[in-house]
């Protein structure tokens, strides 16, 4: 049992960290300026990365599905298949994993270096609640930015799917879009977009927790950044399983 002790300590500290987030969110003044900076950092600066990933995924899906559907003579279903796959599952998970790689490590390293160079202590001594100033805006920015990035990724991936089809055959964009949205309903769109708020929470929470609790100097900063990426990616995949089950129950 003793070898599991670090896990239980980590789990307890994470729970307290999450509790502190909600307490600060509802009882303290919200740091709008910090929030906007972080929203820009997490949202705007991820646009290119998310866009390229979405485009590539769309093209690849299109080529793969085209070959499979051709066996059954069902090529006409390709646009719908691309849009449903992207919007329900692939768009949210790709966006979350790409953002996790960029943002979780960034937050872990930034807060970690602020911790080891006593900048967080300096904030506290200056009568600024460092948790409310640094952690709350980052987590809120993640929760709000992820769904927006996901919609953007979905859109680019569907357009990528169109380019994928063009490699094989000719179809107008209007025909493609019309076929792509034919079978799409709100119960396809909302679960996919809403669950990314949970992914946003996971990414920024794990990054902030690892960074804020950094010990051990520059080595600790490196570990915090690495752990933030690994753990947030893993938790996103686990959360995906749970959220798919929940969305099937409710939608």
């Amino acid at each position: 049992m003793e070898r599991f002790q670090p896990f239980f300590i980590w789990f307890g500290e994470s729970a307290l960290f999450l509790k502190q987030f909600f307490i600060c969110l509802f009882t303290q003044k919200f740091e709008w300026r910090q929030f906007l900076q972080q929203f820009d950092e997490i949202g705007s600066r991820s646009l290119i990365l998310v866009g390229i990933s979405g485009l590539a995924i769309g093209v690849v899906l299109s080529m793969q599905f085209n070959a499979t559907l051709a066996r059954f003579g069902a090529e006409s279903m390709l646009p719908s298949m691309i849009s449903l796959s992207v919007i329900r599952e692939i768009g949210p998970i790709i966006t979350a994993l790409v953002v996790a790689g960029r943002v979780a490590s960034g937050i872990g390293a930034e807060l970690g270096s602020m911790r080891v160079t006593e900048q967080i202590d300096a904030l506290d001594v200056s009568a600024v609640d460092s948790f409310n100033f640094l952690v709350v805006p980052r987590i809120m920015a993640g929760i709000i930015a992820l769904p927006i990035l996901t919609v953007y990724c979905d859109f680019i991936a569907i357009i990528g799917g169109y380019f994928g089809i063009l490699i094989e055959r000719t179809i107008t964009l209007q025909e493609y879009i019309s076929a792509a949205i034919r079978f799409l309903g709100p119960d396809d769109i909302f679960p996919g977009v809403l669950k990314t708020t949970v992914f946003g929470l996971i990414i920024t929470f794990v990054g902030s927790f690892n960074g804020y609790k950094t010990t051990g100097g520059t080595v600790g900063v490196g570990l915090s950044a690495t752990n933030a990426v690994v753990l947030s990616s893993l938790l996103i995949i686990v959360a995906e399983v749970v959220l798919v089950k929940i969305s099937i129950l409710f939608f």
Partner: protein
């Protein structure tokens, strides 16, 4: 008045503070001496409640700061300034923004007045020409001086200096010592100064405390140091006045 009552602090198996009791009078400059790792910085961090003691209490004007609610703690901290060992400048802000940070957070001063106050504070540490630089462009000594300007800008009632002159050249060290003394004399600032720099200690301190392995070995007037029979205190004093030894080759 700040009182530390039987403070114990342990990190893992290391007992850093071992029942330390001290009183810091208002308006007095106290230097805290001791070898590296003797618990000086840990002691200072208890005064601002960056660390909580395992046992014992810290009283400020009779109030236990361990029982302060968040807003009370913030109000208390607004009366303090803290110069960190490594300056702890905010990397993402320029020198000007670093020094302006406390004013912008805690006052509603107009921007033109903030500029005047920041430039005045940078003038105290002879760094007016570095206002637009980023912390990464500064030397260690310059960073420390910016950190000092930032911690002094709201003219705190109590200043805590964690090695204010370490890493500085003798001339700048002397200027910083003069500044610490000036603050005490002009504004009645209470100073707690952790240092190894004995010339600085002799210049600024009314009182000296020597910590060793979490215990107080010496507590008295700065002038009494040279009369002390305590070996470690003697060593501290002798090294501060040491001259090049005559070598018999």
């Amino acid at each position: 008045m700040i009182e530390l009552v039987k403070i114990y602090k342990r990190f893992g198996t290391l007992q850093v503070l071992n029942g330390v009791s001290l009183t810091f009078k208002t308006g007095e400059n106290t230097v805290i001496l001791g070898k590296s790792g003797s618990g000086k910085s840990v002691l200072l961090k208890h005064v601002v409640r960056l660390l909580d003691p395992d046992e014992g209490v810290v009283l400020v004007d009779g109030q236990n700061i361990g029982e302060f609610k968040l807003h009370e703690l913030m109000e208390y901290r607004k009366t303090l300034g803290f110069l960190f060992q490594g300056a702890a400048l905010y990397d993402s802000l320029s020198v000007f923004e670093n020094v302006a940070f406390p004013i912008r957070r805690h006052t509603k001063t107009p921007e033109n007045e903030i500029e005047d106050q920041v430039m005045e504070a940078l003038g105290w540490v002879s760094l007016t020409n570095a206002a637009q630089k980023m912390p990464s462009e500064l030397s260690g000594g310059m960073r420390k001086r910016v950190g000092l300007a930032r911690s002094l800008i709201l003219k705190p009632k109590v200043m805590l200096y964690d090695e204010p002159t370490t890493g500085l050249d003798p001339i700048t060290s002397n200027e910083i010592s003069d500044l610490i003394l000036k603050l005490q004399q002009q504004f009645g600032t209470t100073g707690l100064i952790v240092t190894h720099d004995m010339p600085c200690a002799f210049k600024v301190a009314d009182r000296a405390i020597l910590l060793s392995e979490g215990n107080i070995l010496f507590d008295g007037g700065i002038a009494e140091i040279e009369k002390s029979d305590e070996p470690l205190v003697k060593t501290f004093y002798e090294t501060s006045v040491a001259k090049r030894p005559e070598l018999n080759l």
